[in-house]
């Protein structure tokens, strides 16, 4: 679990539909030891719904600057993601 690889994707400066397009492309590559850490200005509800429908575990957290940190992974990494502080 501790060897899990984070794929960091900062979408804050990207215009629609690039954040969604690229995030979905990343989801298609996620294996049991990789997770997506997406940084965005808004909580990307459509992406979270798509990920959940495909059986991924999703977690959204907002930091004290109002920036959203979105974590998406297979269920096997759920406990790791819940420990991450933003």
């Amino acid at each position: 679990m501790s060897n899990a690889e984070a794929i960091l994707f900062d979408a804050r400066e990207l215009e629609h539909p690039e954040p969604l397009n690229r995030a979905v492309a990343i989801l298609r590559t996620l294996t049991h030891d990789r997770y997506l850490h997406m940084i965005h200005k808004k909580e990307p509800i459509p992406l979270l719904e798509l990920a959940q429908k495909r059986g991924f575990y999703t977690l959204s957290k907002q930091d004290d600057k109002g920036v959203w940190h979105i974590f998406i992974a297979r269920d096997s990494l759920k406990s790791l993601l819940e420990k991450i502080d933003v």
């Binding site: 804050r12 459509p46 495909r54």
Partner: protein
Amino acid sequence: MFNNQGLSLDQAPPIEVVFRFFAVGLVFGIIAGVETMLFGAKVFEGSAREALVLTHTLTLGVMMPIMLGALFQMLPVIAGVKFNAPTKISLAVLPSLFVGTLMLLTAFYTGIPVLFTAASVLLGATLLLSAGAMLRKLFLLQDHGTSSFGMIMALGGLSLLTLVALYLALSYGGIANGEAFVALKQAHMGFGLFGWIALLIVAISFQVIEMFYVTPPYPKALTRLLPFGILGLLLVGLALFLVNPVLQTFATAIVAILLTAYGALTLLRLSQRKRPVADATVWFWRVGMTALIVSTTAMASMPFADISWLNKLAYIAFSTFALSVVFAMFYKIVPFLTWFHLNAQGYFDAPMMHEVIHPKTAMKHLYIHLAALAAFLITLVFPVFAYLAGLLLALSFGRATWQLIKAWKLYYHTQKHGQKFETDASLA
């Protein structure tokens, strides 16, 4: 279109609902182009029947279904409003709107009184019930975002517009006595152009400009005060007409000035995008906002400047504003909905958004749109160019209609032949 209060896109209607509304609007757009080709420069002649037919083709035929379709999509997603049976509602609203609009256009062209009466009853019931249903849901919201408050104001404007239109149509039909016709005709135009069309665009833009183009947000106070101010001034203007008709003109002029400022602010926001390259939708917004500024400046000047073509310029520019925003949203909504619904259904080979409608396709449409605008502007000097303008308008809408058909065919093809993702649970 994306809700940021944790509400689900599952509450959004099926894709067919939105596509049907758009299809009706686009077909009426083609009809508007054909009308202009047939009527020529008469479409600019004040109360001529040709002008009334074209105006109502654009407002009722094009803008109304497209705006209602956009609301069906956005209310659940932006404001968390849930429609219990969106497909059934759309199948009730759309045919009534379509038939009612055709009846009214025929009534304007032929002058047959019973057609005015029939159209007013059908359209009045459809629009008042639709606006009422949406308003009831919106009033139940605890917290209002940047767009939902403005939507309430716009739907209020639609309701007032419809009530006034009922009186006018029934006057044409010989049912109402027409004593207040002149005052209410001014109010009808004000509520229609500013209180419904402009106000709904303003409300939606408060959310989508920032969301789609990564711009700084609009000032929060503006998102409340501007919609309230526009609708309030229109109501005050109607009351002032009863005192002195000139006072209503001043109230409308203040609305025009407020919208001019809004247009300038939106252009500023679009210039503050981080991304240096602008796609077609950014340009449609820019053209729209520039046209809005030209239109409202012309309207605000009319009481003070006796220039014969100012009215025509204001008309052309306002139509350009509304249609530019329609196309800007069209080229965002159609690819997104196609992509999203197919992905949500689990299709592995769902087309990417640029495969639904390629950005270059949208750019080519922008060029046709600008050519149509140029032709309409040239009619101010050479009225014969109206025939070319009509052809380009029909081509513009025909092109958009074709893109919608292609998106629908791609959606249907993927549903029929596409491969679905296996979920993680089924792989275990």
